[in-house]
Symmetry: C2
C-alpha cells in the first residue's frame, strides 16, 4: 500500500514510516478500560487517539482488525470483617458479584464512547473470558524457564529473562537500576526480586474472582491478558499496540517480556502512547477533587465545571492537542474549543449558500495536501484543525464578498471539510441539541413579538400568543427579568 504515514514508535523513540506486516491488513491492539468505575478524561484520550488512528488507516484503504480489551478481572474482595463463616453461609444472590459491577460499568463506558462518537473496535475481549488461554501461556512461560512457582502463585523471572532478552527496551529502564532502586522485599513476599511480576496469583480466602488452575484457585496477573488476547486475535506478530503513556511501564514492558519469553521475538512492530490529561495543571486524583467523570462533563454536575459540555467539545478539545502532548483541561480551554468547533460547523452549513464565481481569487486545493501531510506526520490533528480554520476563514471571506471561489472550488472545500471534520476526526453536529436549541430560539422569537405587542398595547396579538401556546401546554410567566416559559 502506497502511503507516507509516519508514526512515532515508542520502541525506537522516533517517527518511522508505517509498513504493515500483511499487505492491506493492519492489526491494532489498544489497552481498554478497567470496568470498576466511571470513565473520565484519562479514558477518553486513548479512546479518541486510537479512534483517529483506526479511522485514518481505514481511510488509507487498510482492512483493520482493532482489538480493545475490557479488564474485568478486578480485585474485589468480600468484606473480611464478616468473617469467612458468615460469607460462606450467604446465599449466592446476596453476595457481591464482580461481573454485575463489571457489566454496569462496561455499559456506561460504551455509552460514553458512543457519546464521544468513538467507533466500536472490531473485537472487545474480556480478561475474564480468556482465563484458559492465560493459563496456557503461563504453562509455556514456565516450560521455557522464564517463570517460577511459589506457593500456588507463578512469577515472571525478570533477571533470567534479561540474560537472553533486553528487559527495559521499551521504557529505557535498565534492570541494574531497577535492582538498585526498587524497595527491598520483605520476608512475606514470594518473589525472588521486587521487579518480578505475577503471571498467576493464588487467591486469598476473601478474593471473589477465582478460577481453577494447575497451581491454585486464583487469578491471572494483570499484564498477561493483553499478551494473550493480542496473540489470539492478531497473531504472534502484529502491527500496532497502543495505550496511555502511564501503561508504558510496567504494563507494556511486561507484555513485551511475556511475548518474547513465549515466541522468542517481539510481538508488536509499532508501540504508540498517548500522553496524559491534567486538570487545571494538576494530575487527576480522587483526593484532589478534580477527578471528573465523562458523565459529569456532559451534565456539568461537578464543582470544577462552569457548565455542561457537549461530548463533541471534549473530542474537539482533545484533537486540538497532538496525542503525544500533555493536555490540560480548564473551563476556558473547553469553552474555546466548543466555540471553535461550532465556528467550523457554521462554516460547513453555510457553504451551500455561497455564490460561485467564474474564477477563484484564492487557492483552496492546497488544503488537501496540507491536511494529508499533517495526518501522515504522526496523526497531527492540531495542524489539520489549523488548516481547516484557514479554509473556514477563506470561505467566510467568500461569503462576505471579499474573496471569490468557483463552483468546483466551493464543492471541493465542502467535501474536504466533510472528510476531515466528520469522517476522519469523527466530529458530529449534534442534531438533538440543535432541536432543543431551535425550540429555545423560536420561543425567544415568540416572546419578543409578545413583548413588542404589549408595549404597543396590541393586546389582541399578545392574547393570541398566550392562547396558541396554551394549546401546546406552554405557560408564560412574566418575571422581573422578563417573560419565562415552561411546560405545564
Amino acid at each position: 500500500m502506497q502511503n507516507d504515514l509516519h508514526i512515532y514508535n515508542s520502541l525506537n523513540r522516533k517517527k518511522e514510516e508505517f509498513k504493515s506486516i500483511t499487505p492491506n491488513f493492519v492489526g491494532m491492539y489498544v489497552c481498554g478500560p478497567t470496568v470498576y468505575g466511571d470513565a473520565h478524561l484519562g479514558h477518553a484520550r486513548p479512546a479518541i487517539t486510537f479512534d483517529i488512528v483506526y479511522r485514518y488507516l481505514m481511510h488509507l484503504g487498510y482492512k483493520v482488525r482493532y482489538v480493545r480489551n475490557i479488564t474485568d478481572v478486578g480485585h474485589l474482595e468480600n468484606d473480611a470483617d464478616e468473617g469467612e463463616d458468615k460469607i460462606t453461609k450467604k446465599a449466592r444472590l446476596e453476595e457481591l458479584e464482580p461481573m454485575e459491577v463489571a457489566k454496569y460499568f462496561t455499559d456506561r463506558y460504551h455509552r460514553n464512547m458512543d457519546q464521544l462518537n468513538v467507533l466500536h473496535p472490531s473485537i472487545e475481549p474480556t480478561a475474564s473470558g480468556h482465563i484458559l488461554e492465560q493459563i496456557e501461556m503461563v504453562k509455556v512461560i514456565l516450560e521455557k524457564g522464564f517463570a517460577y512457582e511459589k506457593d500456588g502463585s507463578v512469577y515472571f523471572d525478570v533477571e533470567k529473562y534479561n540474560n537472553d532478552f533486553d528487559y527495559g527496551k521499551l521504557s529505557g529502564r535498565k534492570i541494574e537500576d531497577l535492582l538498585q532502586f526498587t524497595r527491598k522485599l520483605t520476608g512475606r513476599e514470594d518473589k525472588k526480586n521486587s521487579f518480578d511480576f505475577a503471571l498467576w496469583k493464588k487467591a486469598d480466602t476473601n478474593h471473589i474472582m477465582r478460577w481453577a488452575s494447575p497451581w491454585s484457585d486464583g487469578f491471572p496477573g494483570w499484564h498477561l491478558e493483553c499478551s494473550v488476547m493480542g496473540a489470539k486475535y492478531l497473531g504472534e506478530r502484529f502491527d500496532i499496540h497502543g495505550g496511555g503513556m502511564d501503561l508504558l511501564f510496567p504494563h507494556h514492558e511486561c507484555e513485551i517480556a511475556q511475548s518474547n519469553a513465549v515466541t522468542g521475538h517481539d510481538q508488536v512492530n509499532y508501540w504508540m502512547h498517548n500522553n496524559m490529561v491534567t486538570v487545571n495543571g494538576q494530575k487527576m486524583g480522587k483526593s484532589l477533587n478534580n477527578f471528573i467523570t465523562l458523565d459529569e462533563f456532559f451534565s456539568g454536575d461537578h464543582e470544577t465545571l462552569d457548565s455542561a459540555y457537549n461530548p463533541m467539545a471534549i473530542r474537539f478539545f482533545m484533537l486540538q492537542a497532538h496525542y503525544r502532548s500533555t493536555l490540560d483541561f480548564s473551563n476556558d480551554a473547553l469553552n474555546a474549543a466548543e466555540k471553535g468547533m461550532n465556528k467550523l460547523f457554521e462554516t460547513f452549513n453555510m457553504i451551500d449558500d455561497l455564490t460561485p464565481a467564474n474564477e477563484s481569487s484564492v487557492e483552496v486545493s492546497k488544503f488537501e495536501q496540507l491536511c494529508t501531510d499533517a495526518m501522515n506526520d504522526d496523526l497531527n490533528t492540531p495542524i489539520v484543525l489549523a488548516h481547516l480554520f484557514d479554509l473556514s476563514r477563506i470561505l467566510n471571506q467568500v461569503n462576505d464578498g471579499k474573496e471569490k471561489l468557483t463552483k468546483e472550488d466551493i464543492e471541493f472545500s465542502k467535501s474536504l471539510l466533510q472528510k476531515y471534520l466528520f469522517d476522519l476526526l469523527g466530529l458530529k453536529d449534534d442534531k438533538d441539541k440543535d432541536d432543543a436549541q431551535l425550540i429555545n430560539y423560536l420561543m425567544d422569537t415568540i416572546l419578543n413579538i409578545r413583548k413588542k405587542a404589549k408595549e404597543n398595547k396590541d393586546y389582541q396579538t399578545s392574547d393570541q400568543i398566550r392562547d396558541e401556546l396554551e394549546k401546546l401546554n406552554i405557560q408564560i410567566k412574566d418575571t422581573k427579568d422578563g417573560a419565562k416559559w415552561g411546560f405545564k
Copy 2:
C-alpha cells in the same frame, strides 16, 4: 415478601404462586441470542417478555439478578475448498475471526434492544468467556458417571441418567418414545444413542473456534453454557429460567439433565417459556422470505412491510398478546397496535388539561387492583392494556364533559398510567419525534400571528417576525396554500 404473583411453570404445567428461594432476592436466567445474525421478532419476544418479568419483580421490591447470556461459540468453519495447506499459510489477519463477527452482531443486538427499551440484564456472560468453567463441569459429569468419552468428544449418557433421574420431565417426552422414534445411528457416529448429546466436541481441522481440553482441542456442546453460567452467577438453585418455547426441548431438557447430574437436584424452580411469533400465519423462515429483522421493521425496508414501524409499536404489539400465546404479525395488526398506543399516549398527555370536579361521576380507583391482578396472573399484559384503554376512555369522556373526576382521581389516573405504560410495560413516548413536532407547532404559532398581523395591516409585527426568523436561517414563503417555512 408479600405478593400474589402467580406464574405458569412449564415444569409442572400450571400456574404457581411465586416464592423466591432467598427472601427479597430473585435470580433469573434467560437464554439470549446467538450472535451470528441480525435480531428478528423471534429475538424481540423473549427479550420483551422477560423485561416485563424483570421490571415487575423489581416493582414488587425484589433485588433481581438477571443473567442473559450471549451464545458466541458458533460453528464457523474455514472454507474447506481452499484446502488445509492454504488455510495454514494465511496470515492471522486474513482469516475469518469469529469473535469479530460476534462483536458486530452483539453490538447490533444491543442497539435493537435499546430501541425496544429493554433494560440491560445485570450480567451478560458469553459462552466463549466460560470455557474453563464448562470444562470443569464436563469433568464432574464424567466423574459422576453420566457421560462417556469417544475419540476426543464427550457425550451425555441420557439412558444412564434416566435410570437415576427423570429425563423428559420438562418436555414430557419419554425416553422410551425417543428410543423408538429417533433415527437410527449411522456407523459414523460416536454416540451410543441418538438422543445422547455432546458436552464437548473435538474440532475438525476446519473448525475455527477451539480450546485446549483434557479430551481434545475442541469446543463445548451448546447446552452446557447455560447450566454453567446459571450456576456460576445465580447458584446451584435459583428461581426463574426463561426462554423461547423452541428451546424447551432439547435445550432446556438437557440443561436440567446436566445440572441434576452434577448436583443431584434441580437447579431451577420456575421454568417460563414465551410462545412463538408467526408472520401472516406462517412460521418465520429464510426460505419463505418472511424472515424480517428488527432493523428492517424499524426502517420499513422489507417487501412484506407496508411502512417503517416505531420500535415502541413492536413492543406494544407484543404486549397486546399474552406471552404464552402465539403472536401473528401482519401490517394490519402492527398498524392497529401503533394507533392504540398513540391513543394512550395522547390521553396521558391530555390529563393535565382536565378540569377537576368536586365529585367524581365514575370510579377509577378500581383500576389499580384490576391491573395488579392482571400482572399477578402470570403477567397478563393484554388484560392490563384492556384496563388502561378503559381508563383512557373515561378520561376522554371527562375531557368531553360527559363524566367528572376530582383532582385526586385525575392525579391517581395519571400516576397509574405513568406506572403501567412507562415503568412496568416499558413503553416510551419518543422524545426526538416530540421535539420535531414541537418545532412544527411553534412555527405554526408564529405563522398564525404573522397572518393575523398582515390581515390587520400591522406590518411592524410581520416584519419583526420575518427578521427574527431570518436570524435562525428560517425562510418563509407565501404560497396559495398559506405560508410555508423551511431552513435556508
